[in-house]
């Protein structure tokens, strides 16, 4: 106990020290500022450039061969916008899902599963601010609006020390600063959603803004349809249905140049999904003569309402300061909110008398259940990042960050019987888990050019977390090495350690707001990963380029729900309802590309293994649910002319895994053969499992196709018609599967049935750039 108190005291002393260090370093850099070249005047300064080379060469498209880190992909806006556009929206996450080493899951269970990751271990940053919720509409859309995106850095290995807090990947999305001199934007109409983006100078040459908004109008289509349907069903069955779904997101960025060496930027994002549904069934009485039933709107029979909402909000202020040619600093204060909720009401009414006997509707009773689940995370962050180039052979980055998290998860359930206004409470659950957590990190990384052919990028990050009176330290060494064999060939290797101080507490894997983010506590330790990756990167003749990478990754302190059947994890006992384990993943990835001015064809293949060891589930290693042995993505874009370009992409991966009873004990398997149904019936055995995730579902594959037709309007603006087909050959990819205990003569075994939800989706949209 004394040691723990000492640690906590040390932590309490450290937090202000780290903040002080940030401030001092920042003040030093400010004091060191001189009137240097106007670095912002031409917009060429790139504080976020990922490598020494990138800092030197900012105009060329930088390929993997010229970077030090393994596992880094930079996507610029043009790359994202040339990708597939479902329902009118090019998508960052869908583009990343096509990269080697990245698995997509399926619709409803979408996300990024990177190098054996859990899906909840990806760090999503939007202008440097964390996003906890990144998908709309069961994962078909991501929260990143491509209209406002400048570029995306995606890391799956070789993480620089400036990134931390998640185990498996970093998706660092930067939005574009508004044009300082001209107003322009885009307006786009699709089948179910629309986008609007505008940017321009507020004060010419000084202040600009960039604003983008997306919203679906699915609700405005479904509401009238439901109203028409309800009119009929109300008369016929006394039923009234409700349904409403909408999502939107909004980005706002305001940039102001204070001086040639100072710039501030305000960024705001809000994205939300809302899904409501339910039905009312009214009390009815049948006329004995006419046999017709009359339903009474003032007498409820049963009612069910579900109201789900999930989304994120971020707001941040960033100050970029160039102290000298060699030193620049970025300081950011930000707030991020993740907000999930589910409300539900189920009621059943009983009427003791007919309408004639009880015209005032007094003789009734009801049983009603209401549930209210919420999960919120508030993040307050302050960080400073220094970028110092002391010589041509060094680029040193260092910095510190402080985060104050408030985790708030609650579950309230009330079940009561009510009779004419008098309530008798049956169940009253009111569980709230609220944690405050402090997280701080210091990092330093250097990129050292040693001779002409060798670059080393060592780094160290030290993170600490204090929650629930428990202090965790996490030193995280990082190193990336690159050796240029010749001008067209590079060898790279990296080693990284990462920690994650927050757990996604979930009882089901669905893309629904049924999960909660909660911090590590005395019982729940921080997750940790160690990864080594390396490969060869080569430019081939005829504009071909080849990347071959391998990786080995271990994960520890993973947690899985081990409680009983539930949609929500039990908030009040969440620590005891989860069991800890570890994971490992390894594999090889090949990326082959051919890029010319008009054509870009790429092939990404991954051969990988993802395994888990949870002693409470099984006594040995077993394959993970997301153990995709083979993944292949082929994408092609071709520009036939300035007016016509096409996109095509084929995705294939081995199916997900599920768990099935596969052995029987205690009796006999078989039973008797029923000639009428032509089926075997009457099995008598106790089914057993040989191991978790022992069955693989059918493979996932789909083909997407898109065409852009561009036309210049009379006013000189560009209009783009986009026609896209998602899942062009209508492959019903499995989302989940069941097993039927039917053993017919043909199959001579179990019959598995899988269910697919997303058929072919053709879309058309029109975008006007003005």
């Amino acid at each position: 106990m004394i040691n723990r108190m000492n640690r906590i005291n040390r932590m309490n002393r450290m937090l202000p020290s780290m903040a002080l260090l940030c401030s001092v370093l920042f003040m030093l850099s400010v004091n060191g500022a001189h009137a240097q070249n106007p670095v912002y005047a031409n917009g060429s300064y790139d504080a976020a450039a990922d490598t020494l080379n990138a800092a030197k060469v900012t105009t060329d498209r930088i390929r993997q061969i010229s970077r030090t880190q393994t596992g880094l992909t930079r996507l610029d806006a043009s790359k994202i916008n040339s990708g597939f556009a479902l329902f009118n929206s090019p998508d960052v996450i869908k583009t990343i899902q096509r990269l080697p080493g990245v698995a997509s899951g399926t619709e409803l269970l979408s996300g990024l599963y990177v190098h054996g990751g859990t899906g909840s271990d990806n760090l999503y940053l939007l202008d440097g601010m964390p996003l906890y919720s990144t998908s709309h509409l069961i994962g078909l859309f991501s929260s990143f609006n491509s209209d406002v995106i400048e570029d995306v850095d995606f890391y799956k290995s070789g993480f620089p020390a400036r990134y931390g807090g998640r185990l498996s990947s970093v998706v660092d999305v930067n939005t574009r600063e508004g044009d300082m001199y001209e107003w322009h934007g885009t307006f786009s109409l699709g089948l179910i959603d629309g986008r609007f983006q505008i940017e321009g100078p507020i004060v010419k040459g000084k202040t600009s803004m960039n604003f983008g908004i997306r919203r679906t109008w699915l609700d405005s289509i479904t509401s009238p349809a439901l109203a028409i349907s309800n009119r009929k069903s109300m008369r016929k069955d006394g039923e009234f249905s409700r349904g409403h779904y909408a999502f939107w997101d909004m980005n706002l960025g305001i940039t102001h140049l204070i001086s040639d060496s100072d710039k501030i930027r305000f960024s705001f994002f809000n994205g939300m999904d809302k899904l409501r549904g339910g039905s009312d069934k009214y009390y009815g009485e049948k006329d004995t003569k006419t046999q017709e039933t009359t339903y009474y709107k003032d007498r409820m029979g049963s009612q069910m309402d579900i109201d789900l909402g999930w989304g994120s909000t971020t707001a941040g202020l960033t100050w970029d300061h160039v102290a000298s040619d060699q030193l620049s600093v970025r300081t950011r204060a930000s707030y991020a909110l993740s907000n999930n909720r589910i409300k539900m009401k189920v009621g059943q009414w009983g009427w003791g008398s007919t309408v004639e006997e009880d015209p005032e509707n007094k003789n009734w009773a009801a049983s009603i259940l209401t549930e209210n689940n919420r999960s919120k995370v508030h993040d307050f962050s302050l960080r400073s990042d220094f970028d110092w180039i002391p010589s041509e052979s060094h680029r040193i980055r260092f910095g510190a960050s402080l985060q104050h998290h408030i985790y708030d998860a609650a579950r309230k359930a009330l079940y009561w019987d009510e009779k004419q206004g008098a309530k008798t409470i049956g169940t009253d659950v009111d569980n709230v888990q609220s944690f405050k957590a402090e997280e701080a990190a210091l990092y330093i990384e250097d990129e050292i050019q040693i001779g002409d052919k060798f670059i080393a990028a060592p780094g160290l990050r030290h993170s600490v977390s204090l929650t629930d009176g428990k202090l965790y330290h996490s030193p995280e060494p990082r190193i990336a090495l690159r050796y240029d064999m010749d001008k067209s060939t590079a060898l790279k290797i990296s080693y990284t350690e990462m920690s994650q101080f927050v757990h996604l507490v979930q009882a089901v894997y669905l893309d629904l707001p049924t999960s909660s983010w909660l911090p590590c506590t005395k019982e729940m330790k921080p997750m940790r990963s160690r990864q080594i990756a390396g490969g060869v990167y080569k430019k081939l003749p005829y504009d071909l380029h080849l990347e071959v990478e391998g990786f080995w990754k271990t994960l520890s302190n993973l947690y899985e729900y081990s409680g009983g059947f539930s949609l929500y994890p039990p908030i009040e006992q969440w620590e005891t309802s989860f069991t800890s384990g570890k994971g490992r993943a390894f594999g090889a990835e090949v990326a082959l590309g051919w890029t010319t001015e008009d054509t870009d064809i790429s092939l990404a293949y991954t051969l990988s293994w993802s395994q888990r060891f949870f002693p409470e589930f099984f006594n040995s290693w077993y394959c993970d649910r997301n153990d995709y042995r083979n993944m292949l993505n082929i994408t092609a874009t071709h520009k036939f002319s300035d007016k016509f370009d096409i996109y095509a992409g084929w995705t294939y991966r081995t199916g997900s895994r599920m768990t099935l009873e596969d052995q029987g004990i205690g009796g006999y398997v078989g039973g008797w053969y029923n000639p009428e149904t032509e089926e075997w019936q009457g099995y008598r055995y106790t089914a057993q499992y040989t191991k978790p995730y022992n069955i693989r579902m059918p493979a996932y594959h789909r083909f997407d196709l898109g065409v852009n037709l561009r036309k210049t309007t009379r006013k000189g603006n560009e209009g783009i018609w986009n026609i896209s087909v998602y899942n062009a050959y209508c492959r019903m990819n499995p989302i989940f599967a069941i097993v039927e205990w039917r053993i017919d003569r043909e199959s001579k075994g179990y019959v598995g049935k899988y269910y697919g939800l997303i058929p072919i989706i053709p879309t058309i949209s029109y975008t006007l750039e003005f």
Binding site: T424, G666, G667, Q688, F736, K753, L757
Partner: protein, 371 residues
Amino acid sequence: MKKSIYLILAALMLSACEREFRIDRQIGDSVTYLQFVTSCDQNPSYLVIQATTPLNEPGRIVETAGVELSVSSDGTPVPMDRITAEQDTHKSQRFSTGHKFMPGEEIIVSASVSGHKPVSASFIVPAKCPEFRWDYHFEEGLDDDDNPLGILYDSILCFDIEYDNLPTSSGRYGIAVALEEQVRYEQCTTTSNPYYAPYYDKLVWTTESEYTGYHDAPPISASSQTMSSTGQSPLVVTPTELSQPSLDRYHSRVQAWIDMPAVAPKTGKQQIRIRFDSQEVHESFDSNAPAQWATEWYGLRETHRYRYKLVFYSFEENCYNYLKSQSNNGGFLPMLGLAPVSCTFTNIRNGIGVCGAYATSETDWIDIKKP
């Protein structure tokens, strides 16, 4: 809440498109099932070994032949007596031992079945379970004869259990409530059908669904199935039991027990609440329950009396994990691949099943007196 889950899944399934796929080729061949759960409070101990049958092969029966078994306690061989000369009707082979296992002993079990990989497992016998104190009281339930939706329940029997000085070395505990129902008929015949029904800490278990089965029983029922008289483990279900549909209640029994994992404090207080659902028998239930109720049935006067026994368990880790795993067996979301799977625990190397131990401490039968 379950309603909403069903609704969501029903909506998904209705809107989804289904396709069949073959999974039989992914199912492996027969493995060895081994179950040996013992206790220092239990004598004799039973062991079941069986070759499993792959479920994709209808009609096939895998013989459990050529069994070789070795059990040792702290390195000393433990004699195991074969109960059945050959495999029984359920194609298993059973063994028993009168050896008294002592706390702290390491038990190693090795076995092989002809044509199968040898299997093995080990565990430590947990310390004796500490004593506990108990009391009971009644809380008012929801009784409303005029409720058009029917009566819910009229009283809640609450047991208060206090324990202290739990051993810290084995930190996995459970509490079960054994309920014995005595049925007396006018001819003065008596039958006793005790069964064990553990309860969750706060959740409520409805007795009604359990004992309606007894109404179909003949006035003079089979012999009582107490824990000791059948020699069966009170917690782990044998293949024989599960293969008999009439013993399905054992399934429920295993599914519900108080989970007091490693974080249980050294001293503590638990409350067990038992709700009585009187929908089926409310004519006589409201005044006598839960201690006794009576009804006329086919010309016979039938009086039911209940008494209770509290059993405190301390589990060895493997035993605990297996029970927890079995209790999660019923969830369908994991089976759909939509939720984590936790029903697959085994500590048998190269096989399936469980070898583990537990300790118990229990009260005498408690006659309930309703004030």
